[in-house]
Symmetry: C2
Subunit: 140 residues, 2 copies
DNA sequence: TCGTTATTGAAAACGATTTTCAGTTAATTA
DNA sequence: TAATTAACTGAAAATCGTTTTCAATAACGA
């Protein structure tokens, strides 16, 4: 997902495109891995030295709400984020347990499963999240 | 999963069956919902008034390691736990977004998907987590 | 019952996240 | 371009959940 496109989306919401936000967007769009807020802060300060950690948190919350960033849930917690590649539609994550690299995929072939679950349990199924954990080619 | 069975498992590990642990186990085995540590503490104090929050954390960590309790990852965070019904083998969760009720299911029909992902991305797939969010019959 | 050892709870420490607030900046208007 | 204004920002403080420390306690075997 390109910076220009992200900027466009901010404007559509009537939000300002500030230097701190650009810095966060840049880190997220450049990195293909999950990053903690602290790590995003550290990297973001390379392009905008005055960037505050507070603003990183605020920007992440904003981007998450806009669907441009996704939380990554690992065994130890869910305190990392990854930039979304294709903001439209349904997708899931394939995460490298060593380097944190995140790949997206959309075909989760779960239609049948969800229909079956719905039928058997009486739940009205609304959403689902699938995370696959593995080791990426470079880390193997 | 019954209290008696949980107690049995503790003994097998050479662990003591203390009143605080009994209280936590009781809460978890009685409730079919995801509960935060604070909520487990509150409920646990009904059967053992002196139960400390610290012990709840410690017991949860212990039970999680033993595979008797599972973390539930929600959009807002991953700070809730649910007792596991069938401790052996692979299973996933169906969670009610309103009351937090948790159902387990094991047939996630993902073999083909994982094989395909592995082939396409070169990742060595090791694990996966599937959470389905919906609305349970009572809450509908 | 006694002794050993794991376990406990309270308080303090800790780390991550959020709030507050006065100052700054991006976007708009003239 | 300069003035205006509301959104945005960073630093400090507050807050919240979780972990550590440590002296006291309780479970279990002898």
């Amino acid at each position: 997902m390109k910076i220009a496109e992200l900027e466009q989306r901010l404007r559509e919401q009537g939000l300002k495109l500030t230097r701190p936000r650009q810095a966060v967007l840049e880190v997220l769009s450049r990195s293909g891995s999950r990053l903690s807020p602290a790590e995003i802060h550290r990297q973001g300060r390379r392009s905008y030295r005055r960037l505050g950690l507070v603003t990183v948190y605020r920007t992440l919350a904003l981007l998450e709400e806009m669907g441009l960033v996704q939380r990554v849930h690992t065994e130890t917690g869910c305190h990392s984020f990854a930039g979304v590649r294709s903001p439209e539609g349904h997708h899931h994550q394939l995460i490298c347990k060593d380097c944190g690299r995140v790949e997206e995929f959309s075909d989760c072939a779960s239609e049948q499963l969800l229909a079956k679950l719905q039928k058997e349990t009486g739940f009205a199924v609304e959403d689902h999240r699938l995370e696959v954990i593995g080791c990426c080619p470079k880390c193997q």
